[in-house]
Symmetry: none
């Protein structure tokens, strides 16, 4: 599984709770390779508490004393940056592009995503070791993204990138908007909808809501409204069934009256 080739590297993390939360964030997304560079406190009960059920990732972490050690066997090294760093002319990835790149590269190679210290980030020396930078867009007035939250977002994007590769890119990435709404179900045809509109119109005439001599665009407005739904097969059955009930009850009643 390619996600196991993506390594999360945390440099000199101050709060052990963040290490535990990062382990949990990784595991929820299927990542497992955690490397700690000079952690301030590790192991630590706070880390255990925050790891929840991800103690295997936490306890399996390797501990090293420099970033170069941490990434020695990696082909790709991506540093995270709180700033856009445009001035440094870095190759700057969006989290999405980072996830796609990491998932794709991880099919055959090892990728490291590197997170700096809570307050001060990565040193210049550490930046030198990175091939690319990724910047998570954030509120310019408050860009205080927790390090475990940053791990969560980039692990999530790695998983999305991975799923796009394994489940078929087209389905995952492109224009899912309307279709995502009715997952896996056929949208009915215009002809099918016409049957519904005729039934609706008949009922509206019957109940004197619509006067055939003065229709006031009522059916046009109904069509425009229902036309926005993208009605599925089972939903059309529901709509027509309810109309039949509204009509049927009346027919039944009429029949009773005639008896």
């Amino acid at each position: 599984m390619s996600l196991s080739n993506i390594r999360i590297v945390l440099i000199q993390t101050s709060h052990p709770g963040n290490i535990g939360a990062a382990a949990r964030a990784m595991k929820t997304m299927g990542l497992s390779d955690l490397c700690l560079v000079n952690p301030v406190k590790y192991p630590d009960p706070q880390a255990d508490a925050m790891a929840s059920g991800a103690d295997d990732v936490l306890n399996g972490a390797t501990v090293v004393s420099s970033l170069s050690e941490a990434v020695a066997d990696c082909q790709h090294i991506i540093g995270t940056s709180a700033r856009s760093q445009r001035t440094l002319r870095w190759s700057l990835l969006t989290p999405r592009a980072c996830g796609e790149f990491a998932a794709k590269s991880a099919q055959t190679q090892k990728v490291a995503i590197v997170f700096g210290r809570e307050r001060t980030g990565l040193t210049n020396e550490e930046l030198e070791l990175c091939h690319q930078l990724v910047h998570i867009p954030s509120n310019p007035d408050y860009s205080s993204l927790n390090v475990a939250s940053a791990v969560q977002i980039l692990s999530y994007e790695s998983r999305v990138g991975h799923l796009a590769l394994t489940e078929g890119g087209a389905e995952q990435s492109a224009s899912q908007e309307a279709d995502a709404e009715v997952l896996g179900e056929e949208i009915v045809s215009a002809a099918d909808m016409d049957g519904f509109y005729h039934q609706l119109e008949a009922l509206m005439v019957e109940t004197e809501f619509l006067n055939p001599d003065d229709p006031r665009y009522l059916m046009r407005r109904m069509r425009r409204m229902y036309g926005r739904i993208n009605v599925t097969r089972s939903e059309l059955n529901l709509l027509r069934g309810s109309l039949s009930a509204f009509q049927g009850r009346k027919l039944q009643r009429r029949k009773t009256e005639q008896d």
Copy 2:
């Protein structure tokens, strides 16, 4: 700014630290509207500690006693689900589609993204109120995503969706088709739609289409379907007027029978 129209709703959160972390997650992405439904502990020092510099979002949170109160003024209600819920044939969004949808809708309307309890998620009754569900893809062997982490991911996707709208005009115009149809007309609120649903349900029960002892998700399916329309004020009048005609005719008939 449209992101202020996106409301994060947390239902009965057990751990106050999660509320604080959610506030921080929101603020890093530019969201500010937090609503708590029956929080177990709020306010609480643990929440303050986890909020870091996002105490304005945390302290500005509204506290209510039910989901329907929390979303009364919202046009779009998106529930989060830990499962894919394919069996229920929900309108199931990816986080990406959710972010795009929320950012686009939030330009003119209010959108709620609803997070359930840490252990048990949303109740069926709460699910009834949702128009769509979003599922964050996760490790099938360990899908224990922390609620604040889920808030982080969906807030992040909302920001990405927002940036795509504001920074890329092409994308904006392409996905506006549906809205063009209702251009310039007010979309009614969830509370307004509730009135319609109650009337529809009453008629369905009356005509024996819906058996209150065995409702078979009929109202949920109706809500999901009509929830996709973005009903305008004049359309709601049309819908309610037609239902009244369907009902009134019957009452009239009943009256005639009694005479």
